[in-house]
Symmetry: C2
Subunit: 213 residues, 2 copies
Amino acid sequence: MSSKARGAASSRSQDPIRKPLDADAVATAAFELFSRQGYNATSLDQVASALGISKAAIYYHHAGKEAILRHGLDAAMAALESMLQEAVFQSTANPPLDRFAYLVRRGSQIGLAHKATVEVLLRLKGNSEIERSLLKRRRAFDAAAAAILREAVTTGDLQAGSNPTVLASLSIGVINTLVEWYRPDRAIPAGELAEVVVRFVMSGLPRTGTERI
Amino acid sequence: MSSKARGAASSRSQDPIRKPLDADAVATAAFELFSRQGYNATSLDQVASALGISKAAIYYHHAGKEAILRHGLDAAMAALESMLQEAVFQSTANPPLDRFAYLVRRGSQIGLAHKATVEVLLRLKGNSEIERSLLKRRRAFDAAAAAILREAVTTGDLQAGSNPTVLASLSIGVINTLVEWYRPDRAIPAGELAEVVVRFVMSGLPRTGTERI
DNA sequence: AATCTGACTTACCAATCGGTAAGGGGTACG
DNA sequence: CGTACCCCTTACCGATTGGTAAGTCAGATT
């Protein structure tokens, strides 16, 4: 019983078999917890035990906790940004409100598809350099959305005197809030929900006796 | 120079003068930081130094970190709940959509007036018993709002087939998102903003060529 | 003058956290 | 058969955190 017997990998050999993890799998599990408990309230030990590995094993796949954060949020922001490019560079013959509706629809779909990551993205507070750089990208996204609405005011599609920045923030806010309460086991499927969101942003509550387009 | 000389209150006597703090003042300062950095990312040492006191002094006013959380969130939830009572018990002769509009307007005003507390309230994740009890109250609030919309479907004020739960979540979501980006130094004053929110919820983006009521 | 109380202070603690060091089992390849 | 590499382990560390113990000083009360 000398201290030499520092048995390693003992629990792994007890496992039936398990595929080696990769950086993506670790990040996915981490974001599952980040989104449920919050980033700061989630320890790497929790992430490790959710994966059935030791905390140190996480450091084989990622440089640290913040690296995991960046890994996941980079992917989510990239998806949103490429979608924004599509919306912005759609035929300018396309009315700005149509492009905005496209942005809202695709934004909802992406938000729901990347629920865990987007939820964490929305809760960033800028407590580190990484968080601040992500926040900067988020603000650029919001500004681009506002620009489309500003154009809609110029073309007269939106009422003169409207504040495009505020309206863009409210519209995007609807998407954001979506990510926070939607659970896939809900009565309404994600595909339909995106349409409900688009109609809500364009027309508000579906009242009777008001014109619909 | 015996160890007896454990000078106390030394920094206070250096201060010009300072009124004694009370539990509310400590909680207000704490929520200022909670809302900017997040609850978990804010240490009591930060709260203390923002107040110019020692961390231990916080424990004279509050039983602990979670007690501060409860102190502030209890007040915010109470304000929202009493507003909800007003909206619900308004003359039933009042159309449900009018009552809902009232709820959205007052909800926006309260959210903006209690910005720091409400922002923390919205970020709760249920990581402790206190958080879970607050979340329960929040869900009751959402359910009551949904009930008003359900009534509006019954009376035919909302289109048949509408999902009142989803629509209530989207509407309240607009208020929630408001709290996250609004800064009082913005171009638009808080009073106007509440009206913009009401119009947005009732009619969506202010398009030209659509009927307004 | 003596005492009490409100409002703090410094000094400390145990627990937890993110992160590191060092090593070991399994498989592929020479 | 050796050895190299991948993927992971146990054991540990320093820093930070929420929380506590005990002392203190100014001002009100007696």
